[in-house]
């Protein structure tokens, strides 16, 4: 499994260096700033997007769940990292990879950016399929760019996606457990004219 993973990574990363504009595009997408902001803004936009009071309430509850899932995903990734420290691929295969990104110092498995991306995308998908698919595509592209840049194995990305989706499922359960707190938070926001 590990050798297939490494072979796939080396093949994908081996595509870099031939078309500069594509490498540059991947560098921008892999950045720590673009995709995380896109995903956060998707939740911010969703809060204000409801057209009717009922739809607004649904979207706002989903936004709260999306943000909670994002935070919990971070915690789950940190927990997995502390249990298993998988070295980054550029440490395992220093001569075979063309690194397009800085060398992160944290463990490789699972991919944290993908976990938070999929957590947010799942939240969006629950209330708006089309919007959700766009965010899944954005989160997948983010993961692909990091593999292409040589900082994640493909299995790190797949595991990150699974963590994100599973954490969103857990968050829906958590919401049921703590209801009516989430609804009350939306009502409070409405009291301040922001909900």
């Amino acid at each position: 499994m590990n050798s297939i993973d490494a072979s796939l990574l080396i093949w994908l990363n081996g595509l870099s260096g031939s078309v500069k504009i594509f490498d540059d595009l991947m560098r921008v997408i892999a950045s720590d700033y673009l995709m995380p902001l896109v995903l956060s803004l998707s939740m911010f936009g969703l809060w204000f997007s409801g057209k009717t009071p009922f739809q607004r309430m649904t979207f706002q509850l989903t936004t709260l769940m999306g943000i909670s899932a994002l935070l919990i995903s971070n915690a789950v990734v940190w927990l997995i990292n502390s249990l298993w420290h998988r070295p980054r691929p550029f440490l395992d295969h220093p001569d075979e990879l063309n690194l397009l990104f800085y060398s992160p110092t944290d463990p490789s498995f699972p991919a944290n950016p993908v976990a938070i991306g999929f957590a947010v995308a799942t939240a969006a998908w629950v209330v708006n399929r089309q919007f959700g698919w766009w965010l899944f595509a954005a989160a997948s592209l983010f993961g692909f760019s990091r593999v292409y840049a040589g900082v994640f194995y493909p299995t790190d990305v797949v595991a990150g996606a699974l963590v994100g989706i599973a954490v969103y499922g857990f968050t829906t359960y958590l919401r049921r457990l703590l209801e009516p707190l989430a609804t009350m938070m939306v009502r409070l926001a409405r009291g301040f004219s922001v909900g």
Binding site: D23, Y33, L178
Partner: protein
């Protein structure tokens, strides 16, 4: 890179704040024009406001990723080298621009917590700016069809009330409604939540 990471961080913070502020303002404008929340529009016209929203987002991306071309920072001489610690202080070239922002947080880039703090501040600022411009838009556009008041919506609050009122006119109504109904919201919420709810289990029979 013989540069203090704190200098790099403060540079990143100001750049990131502008990036997040402009893009949140743009996102907010696109969202409120599609949902008809006129009290937060930058202009009293839907199409112009939406166009401004798109322009804010595009400007934010161009400015943030283009800044290394004309602002000195830790991105000179070789962002094509992946390692952020080997770069010099200065401006970057077109060739190296794409990777210039890829700086490890231990070398002064922003980590997740920093980004979350600056993003929150940017979002609040974008909302405040929208409230200010929205107040003017509601006054200027008071007679237009977009801002017309439905008879049923006189007592509406929250964002629904902002569909035809400014934030400052809407806030007292929203506060009053919340104050009057908060007890009902809570007890109704507990009653309608399902059997998994810990709060329902704890408060149990008193709200049944």
């Amino acid at each position: 890179m013989n540069v203090n990471p704190n200098d790099v961080r403060s540079l990143f913070e100001s750049h990131y704040f502008l990036f997040a502020f402009l893009s949140s303002l743009g996102t907010l404008q696109i969202a409120v024009t599609s949902s008809g929340i006129c009290g937060l529009w930058l202009m009293p016209y839907r199409r112009v406001t939406r166009l401004l929203g798109f322009m804010c987002i595009v400007t934010a991306i161009i400015v943030f990723f283009g800044q290394p071309l004309f602002v000195d920072g830790p991105w000179a001489a070789g962002s094509v080298q992946s390692e952020s610690s080997t770069r010099e202080w200065g401006t970057t070239s077109w060739n190296d621009l794409a990777g210039a922002r890829n700086i490890n947080d231990i070398h002064g880039g922003l980590d997740g917590v920093d980004q979350a703090i600056w993003f929150s501040l940017a979002v609040i600022s974008a909302f405040v700016v929208s409230v200010g411009f929205g107040t003017i838009s509601v006054k200027v556009g008071a007679n237009s069809k977009e801002f017309s008041v439905d008879a049923k919506s006189h007592n509406s609050d929250g964002l629904t009330g902002l569909a035809h009122r400014s934030y400052f006119s809407n806030l007292p109504i929203s506060m009053r409604n919340f104050h009057e109904n908060s007890r009902n919201f809570w007890s109704d919420g507990v009653r309608s939540s399902d059997r998994w709810s810990l709060i329902k289990i704890i408060s149990g029979s008193s709200t049944e």
